[in-house]
Amino acid sequence: MKRFVPTRRAFIVAGIGVMLFMAASTAQAGWLFVLAASVLGLVATSLLWRHNLGAAAIERRAPRRTCAGDPVAVGLTIHNRGRRTLPLMRVEDHFAAFEPTVVTAERLRPGERSEIELVKTAHRRGVFTSGAVLLTSGAPFGFMRSRKAIEVPGETTVVPHWADLGSFPILEPSSFPADVLHERARTGAGQEYLGVREYRPGDPQRAVHWRSTARVGELVVREFEEEVQSRVTLILAGKDVGDPPDSAFEMLVSAAASIGIYALNTGHPVDLLRPLPEGVAHLGDPDRYDILDWLAAAEPIDSPVTPLVSQALARVGRRGTVVVLIPTLGEAARDAEDAVRMIQAAGSRAIVVAARASSWYDDVRFLDFDEGSSLQAMSVGRTAVRVVSRGEDLAECLG
């Protein structure tokens, strides 16, 4: 939208010129004619001084991936591809990942470039593609104004914060006879044949070592050092409470990121599920970057979690962990009890990370849901429930 329109100042100055002209003809003072001609000459010059903002080529250099709230360096380059000098311009970058940038760009002769690097903060989690850069110029006197909006592509994914967890109660498989839950899984991934052990319910049939079984008389299975690691599935759902970036859903997203990365670090394969307006989004066996990118695009959607849980259990099977991250209100919360029972029935471990919605209410008197019973329902069985509240340290809440 390139427009070349006169500003209010142009009209005022033209008006002054006309008034000078009238004064001149009244007083028959020749100098006033000269003044009137000069003033009107200024306006005429501005009309002739067209800007060629279209010759500006703009590039934006922003990191591909950054964390919400982190300061990053964002660079802007303007390159004059035309044959005429680009005038003094106001450059506004409306790239949604960061707060709008407003800078001025000095005159650029043909072929010249100017660059600037600003430190900006990514304030919103999300996946951002292109953003518009708005150029405004009014040179030389500000009588005429022209604008041009240039769409500058650029992908930036602002990933959520995550905390380094010291521990999280993920279910570990055990190669020791005692069924002790370790806090840290062994990181060994060797292929070393560890030997045989007695059969435990849930071991795959193909792992049975028939020869030894024949010898011993009881089922014996072969065990490899790198057994199927216990899979962790994270389910993220529910409505948002509060204003992002300080809201319940954001906190749950960060929690999901923290848990997912912790799971990867401790050698567990991870799955992630969340509801979409139409359907379900699923991420299987990601690396940490994939997790963060996937979570960056997450939107709060309040829907029952049981369908997601059943999908999760298909992957996790027995002896896995399903972490359900929901707020304490809404459909997701109401469904939590059923979801937990479902998980436990399948033999997996259920962990609920609940965002205490009441902590985002300014006035708890306006609570229209029963938080206490909600939390109680979630902790049915021996479900581990981690409650996160507004303003609390995530690592402390989860670990």
């Binding site: 100098w31 000269v34 990191p63 950054t66 964390c67 591809r81 003094l88 001025t104 650029g154």
Partner: protein, 718 residues
């Protein structure tokens, strides 16, 4: 109470103070220029000017330093001073006698308001206002200015105003900006400065050109209505006798030359037709008039064969003691009249005659006024330089058709003196007149016939032969010499018309002079002194005719008002003098055509260059040469990455580089590029055309991706 104080303070604090020192300095300079202009046109005294400038500097400094504070104390002080300035102005007003002189105290007041206002200029809009009011100061000075010195100040002011506007715009567009992008050029700062100066000069040049074009083209119409009389008082006036006192020619003596020290001999009781001499080009008067007119001075009624005489009797003082003096009714003409107001600024001493364009109605002059029998106005004494007086007069506005339609009537008896013909005039003069006007139906036509005949058949020369003693001057002129100058033409016309029974009188005075398009004043030179006739029409009275130049003065209506037309006519006159073959009209048409052609050509050329062609993107020459196409493409890829600070380190292989470069990008496939490059670089065989193309395409995609990859990694270790 503290709450109220706080809210007062907050209300007074500026939201966005203007920080630019350069802007303030330039605006200060424009206001100083405005004050300087006023000083140059002598509207304020030098001491006043110096005080104002010093105080302005102090004021601007204070308002800069205190721009972030709520200056409510200062504002109260300023209000007090403003009131004082107003009171001073009112006091000055009481000393002023005429409306025109109000300009000076008004300019003074406005200047002091500027100084007071200068203490409180925190934000940009205040500086905007200051710039606008500096323009008003310039306008005020411009309306007073009589000479061209003002032009110099105006030029400087113009340049400063352009800079101020540019800086104001810069401040406006930088509102809220956090940083400034300067171009990276290895051409150096000196070069950039030169470019900036060039641009500034370009702007100034274009604006000046636009202003000049507009000035030339915009017509400067005469004042349709006079809102205020452009007059003021000056000195002058010595009591003296009623006879015409001419500073260059003592009364009663015979002049030896027509002009003496910028005085015209024709402004006297007696005008001798035998006197010869050149008139000088000295400016004797400046006139600010609402319309140009022939300024009537002396009215001659009696001819004795050699000279014309004005009434000798003591003029009758006009009744009033204070200006304005009204013109006696008995001398007024009737019928359609057009009003002309004029103010005369005397430069060289003038005779004690009140010049007026046409017939005066009211005169504003400091001194006594008397009127002679013919209706000519006399002052008490000669008018010294710097005298100023104003006249509202009227001229006959009847169209020729209206004049023609007038019925023939006998002139009243008191006009018999205007029919007087001495015996020295032979009858053949009357016969000539009869013959010339045989076919003219009306009085008006008769006058025109004689005018034209004289113009066609007689030559103008100031050095015409002097009529020998004993010969009638008019007769000698008409039949013998056939060459003369304005006095001869006027005298001959008057006599011939009188012989036809038309009351006619000879007038000496000044032609309108040349209008200075800048100051607006008509400048009257000594050589503008002229003689013409007035003929009497029934009912409408006296109408002037100039037989010396039968065609109206060379200036057309257009040239009077449009400076460009005036310039063209001036040029065409000069050229036609240089090249005798061409007439001024032809040259004028040629010049107009040339201007139109230039304008059309300019528009056409400008239209062609309107669409800026994009310069081709220069391809960076790769450093290092040689190798096959894939190697060259890879080199470019390396350089692209290097441009983003992620170039290949010397110990990195191609595969490692590609892996690193594609780590964060969505497209991770670089196999085609890598395999083709390795083949070409390390292998025995060349890669195929297909492979080369695919590799280069892939490298280019990777280069695009590289542009978006991070330069600075975030601190959370992603």
């Amino acid at each position: 109470m503290p709450g109220v104080m706080q809210s007062v303070r907050d209300a007074n604090r500026t939201r966005q103070p203007e920080d630019s020192v350069a802007l303030r300095a330039v605006v200060l300079a424009t206001v100083v220029m405005g004050a300087l202009a006023l000083a140059v046109v002598q509207a304020i005294a030098i001491t006043s000017f110096v005080t104002v400038v010093v105080m302005l500097c102090v004021a601007y400094y204070v308002s800069y330093k205190r721009r972030r504070d709520d200056n409510w104390v200062i504002k109260i002080g300023l209000t007090v001073f403003a009131l004082l300035a107003m009171l001073n102005f009112l006091r000055q007003l009481s000393n002023v006698a005429t409306l025109d002189e109000v300009r000076f105290p008004l300019a003074d007041l406005f200047l002091w308001v500027q100084v007071i206002h200068g203490f409180d200029l925190p934000a940009r809009k205040d500086l905007n206002f200051s710039l606008g009011s500096s323009l008003t100061l310039m306008a005020a000075a411009g309306s007073i200015s009589q000479d061209l010195w003002y032009g110099g100040v105006l030029l400087i002011y113009f340049a400063l105003a352009i800079v101020a506007l540019a800086l104001l715009h810069r401040s406006e567009i930088s509102e809220g900006a956090t940083a400034s992008m300067t171009p990276q050029s290895n051409r150096g700062r000196a070069d950039a400065k030169r470019a900036l100066n060039r641009d500034f000069l370009k702007v100034v040049g274009v604006t000046t050109a636009a202003a000049v074009v507009l000035f030339l083209v915009i017509p400067q119409p005469h004042a349709v209505r006079t809102f205020a009389l452009p007059f003021s008082f000056g000195g002058g006036g010595i009591g003296g006798s009623g006879a015409v006192t001419n500073p260059g020619f003592a009364s009663g003596t015979s002049p030896s030359t027509r002009a003496s020290d910028a005085a015209y001999y024709g402004f006297n009781n007696r005008m001798d037709l035998s006197v010869r001499g050149e008139l000088s080009d000295e400016v004797v008067m400046r006139v600010r008039a609402s319309a140009p007119a022939f300024y009537r001075g002396i009215i001659f009624d009696n001819y004795d064969g050699r000279a014309w005489y004005a009434p000798d009797e003591e003029p009758v003082p006009l009744g009033e003691s204070d200006p304005p003096y009204g013109y006696p009714l008995e001398h007024r003409s009737l019928g359609p009249r057009s009003i002309v107001t004029q103010t005369f600024y005397v430069e060289r001493e003038q005779p004690n005659v009140v010049f007026s364009g046409g017939q005066p109605d009211s005169v504003w002059i400091d001194g006594t006024l008397s009127v002679d029998e013919n209706g000519g106005l006399r002052t008490g004494g000669t008018l010294s330089p710097e005298s100023v007086y104003s006249v509202v007069s009227s001229r006959g506005a009847a169209t020729p058709d209206q004049l023609r339609s007038l019925p023939e009537e006998e002139a009243p008896p008191k006009f018999d003196k205007y029919l007087q013909i001495p015996d020295s005039v032979p009858p053949r003069v009357h016969d000539l007149a009869e013959r010339l006007t045989r076919d003219a139906p009306t009085r008006y036509d008769k006058i025109k016939a004689i005018e034209e005949w004289l113009a066609d058949n007689f030559r103008y020369n100031t050095d015409s032969p002097v009529p020998p003693v004993g010969r009638d001057a008019v007769d000698y002129f008409l039949f013998d010499s056939e060459v003369g100058f304005c006095e001869q033409f006027a005298a001959a016309t008057a006599i011939m018309l009188r012989s036809l029974g038309i009351p006619t009188r000879v007038i000496t005075g000044y032609t309108p002079g040349t209008r200075n398009p800048f100051t607006g004043y008509y400048e009257i030179k000594n050589s503008d002194a002229h003689a013409w006739v007035e003929a009497w029409f029934p009912r409408y009275g006296w109408y002037e005719f100039d037989p010396t130049f039968a065609v109206p003065p060379a200036e057309t209506e257009l040239a009077e008002t449009v400076p460009l037309a005036r310039a063209i006519e001036f040029l065409s006159d000069k050229i036609s003098v240089a090249i005798p073959g061409l007439s001024p009209e032809t040259i004028r048409y040629v010049l107009y055509f040339a201007i139109v052609a230039v304008v059309v050509a300019g528009i056409w050329l400008g239209r062609r260059r309107r669409t800026p062609r994009l310069a081709p993107v220069p391809v960076a020459a790769p450093v290092g040469r040689g190798g096959g196409p894939v190697t060259r493409a890879f080199r470019r890829f390396e350089q692209t990455l290097a441009g983003y600070g992620r170039g290949r380190s010397p110990n990195e292989t191609a595969a490692e580089l590609l892996r690193r470069a594609t780590f964060r990008s969505p497209r991770k496939d670089f196999s085609k590029a890598l395999s083709a490059f390795e083949k070409e670089r390390y292998g025995l065989e060349e890669p195929t055309q297909e492979e080369v193309r695919a590799a280069i395409a892939e490298l280019e995609r990777l280069m695009d991706d590289a542009a978006g990859a991070p330069r600075v990694t975030s601190s959370r270790g992603t």
